[in-house]
Amino acid sequence: MTQPSSITVIVDGREVQVPAGTSAIDAVFQAGRDVPYFCSQQYLSPVGACRMCLVEAGTPRKNPDGSWILDEQGNKKIFYFPKPMASCTLGASDGMVIKTLSEGVKKAQAGMMEFTLINHPLDCPTCDKGGACELQDRAFEYGYGVSRFQFDRRHAEKHYELSEFVVLDQERCIHCKRCVRYFEEVPNQEVLDFIERGGHTFIDTIEGGLPSNFSGNITDICPVGALLDNVARFRGRNWEYDHTATTCTACSVGCSITVDARNGRLERIVGRDNPEVNEQWLCDGGRFGHPYVDDGRLTQPLIKVNGQFRPATWEEAIAAIRTGLDGVSAQQMGFFTRADITLEEGIALEAFVKQVGTPNVDHAPRHGVVVNAPAATLLDVATADAIVVIGADLSEEAPVVDLRVQEMLKGGVLPLQYDFGTAIADLRLTERMHRYRERLAVFYPTTTRMHGVADISAEMNSIQVLEHLSSVISGQYAGGAIEEAAALLKNAKKPVIILGSDVLKGGQIGLDIAAHIALSSNAKVLPIPADSNGVGLSRLEIVPQQGADLSLLGTLKAALVSRLTSIPEDFSGFLVVHETQLTEVAKRAHVVLPALTNYEKRGTTVNLEGRLLKLEPAAISSGESADLITALGAVAEALSLKAPIRGQRSAQKALKDRFGVDVADLPAQGKIVDLGRQYNARTSKYHRPEVGMWKETMLRSERLREKLGGSFNAAVAD
């Protein structure tokens, strides 16, 4: 970004340099001062609805001859605005003087607070937001502390379900309009609005509920307890939660999240600011899909005796594994894991199978393919001037990428970053911004949500799209949407091609064509991996080069399977399953080892951009559950081996030796690192990725299935 020219603003006597175009409120925060605000939100347009951010402000003026007008002392005379100004919608100008501490400002802010509280029910003791409420905090800091209002307060619906996942308490709403603006500006769905006006105003939708995929975000940004997460409602007070900053691994985007646990149970997930990945947004799957974590969890190993499972200690489990593996040669053993494990677990697996001397190792689901073209980041997507989506139902496969594309449609204006963080009120963001629909082309066999926002779109088989596109790029004529998409790519300066499962499942051919298209049009490419750590794990030798992949499991005599949702029916050997619940696969096991979910692990995951992101363990009690490193350690012990990687420390060291990156020292927003060579292998039906936002694992929870209604199945690529 070219640095815009800078201006000087004087806040409470302190001079501060800010880029031209900065809002007064951002200048105030940049100067290290504070004003209360409710309606402004970093990624939404400033609208000046709440009037809490009042300041006194003035500017110097010039005489007709161009000289500054001076006061008696010969200083530049400051002409103050006649009234307190809302600093969020006031642009700072060079030489502007802002006062945030004067008596006038204090009175104006306290007066506004009194208005805001007139109709507020003040039911903090029973409000989920209590203790983490902007209104509560600001009322304490800036209010009068007493109310002069002696009449009946407004009464309205207190448990109004906008959807199964979001409940509205109409009495608590302070009409800041964040939620209304969110839906129009971020997912581009105008489904929520003010109904009635004045004291009667309430938020509602008459579209028959909130649309799915991105509705939960309004519960994060509501500054009061009006919009609440209906999965976490009444499950804990904010100060009782253990907050853990970690990363969502429900898909390959890797959104930054905070996991809130209470008494050892995971109760809530909220979005965490990461301007480079998810800004502050999450998809509904990532946010509400967690109840399975506490549903029927295995907390200790199980051993099958006479066809029945009995609880056991790890020592007994190891002994049972030793017996089971007795007489099985390394060539007859296999190790198979789900592809959402951490990089640490991955490298431990790689080292372990080398030590054991078996070629039978695999992670699933995965796409066995490599795209030989420059990789796009999510910021590239948000700031592209042309995007062609091929074979991806983005809102389902990698939901937050959808939101970054929506940002591109608005012209790719990203809020400026200041020392204090993301701009609170970037004045370039406005309501109902123009959408450059002509910059987006979408191809998928069926209609997706993205078809509705793109000017260029077609329901087409992905390979066909690639072939036609490639021939147009090479000078032939195909007509229709393809022709338009090719022209779009050709005329763009920063084009990005996004490839989804419908392309990737087809193998290398499609990818080679895609690479050809990308290279001929100077486009960057963003392929969506089959599982959350697909990119990281593809850099490790944990795919079968000569050995058995998952579909050949039946040819083996013994196997360890970690959290896979399906394995071949014909396997009849000795089976150790590492799982969080007693699934259909686990029921077939001889020994079940209890597994940690990714919310309980420490480690590193690599998102679709190749960004290394940290996982931190939330305070969830899961008994004797352990990660894959420990599970492999148990197998090693059963084989009388000493596993080469036995913990975090040794895994981190191995990663450092291997990739030259210190994963113990990653910045908060993660870091894109070139992990080098990619290992490739053929795929089978066991590698079909889940392409729906709701994952099979999440749907183990009865509570979640109830909310989704009826029989809900996770979508798997065909």
Binding site: I195, E196, I206
Partner: protein, 203 residues
């Protein structure tokens, strides 16, 4: 019921007044609502959706704009919709009593219609006729000023017999066929063609 299905000319006419862009088209919201309300006396739910689809936006948004104005009704109104001013001057001059009297004589509350379908009542804010308080407006047809119980009786009786009852004054700016008119029938603000252009060099 789709109201505009057979009224393409009306729709075309309304859209022709606004820029033919995604955002420009949204401005047609108000006149479209007005068309429906004039036809039915209120805007039914299904027509909110119809208008939304004509404009290419959501029903929620149409409802939001509509609910801003007390002049759009979401529930049916009587043939004669009595709008009683309840703001300060009228309140001092007895609009509360006038309201209670209407409620008693008609046997309805706000939001209801008399059994014969003739009357409905609504409290509204100042209509700018404070000097002749208390006052009420009937439909869009005009003001009845300094209203007494006696005058109410005359008025209701005459309406019940199906006879016209002339208002004291017409509303300040009546609208006919989309054009605001003065009392003398001339277009309010003059005709666009008789005004000098703001753009230099253009006639």
């Amino acid at each position: 019921m789709r109201y505009f299905a057979d009224k393409q000319d009306v729709v075309q006419d309304i859209f022709s007044r606004y820029p033919d862009t995604e955002r420009g088209r949204r401005s047609a919201l108000m006149p479209l609502l007005r068309e429906v309300q004039n036809a039915f006396g209120y805007v039914p739910e299904e027509n909110i959706e119809e208008i939304a689809s004509l404009l290419g936006n959501t029903a929620t948004e149409v409802k939001s704009v509509m609910s801003f104005y007390s002049t759009y009704h979401t529930i049916p109104t009587g043939k004669h919709h009595l709008q009683v001013c309840a703001t300060l001057s009228c309140a001092i001059a007895g609009s509360d009593e006038l309201w209670d009297h209407l409620v008693d004589t008609l046997g309805i509350q706000q939001g209801e219609i008399t059994k014969d379908g003739l009357f409905s009542i609504q409290k509204v804010e100042c209509l700018g006729s404070c000097g002749t308080a208390p006052m009420l407006q009937i439909n869009d047809e005009g003001y009845h000023e300094c209203v007494s119980k006696k005058r109410i009786k005359l008025l209701l009786d005459q309406f019940r017999r199906g006879e016209p009852f002339n208002p004291d004054i017409l509303p300040p700016i009546p609208i006919h066929a989309g054009q605001q008119e003065l009392e003398n029938g001339l277009p309010a603000g003059g005709l666009a063609t008789t005004l000098p252009s703001l753009v230099e060099g253009e006639a």
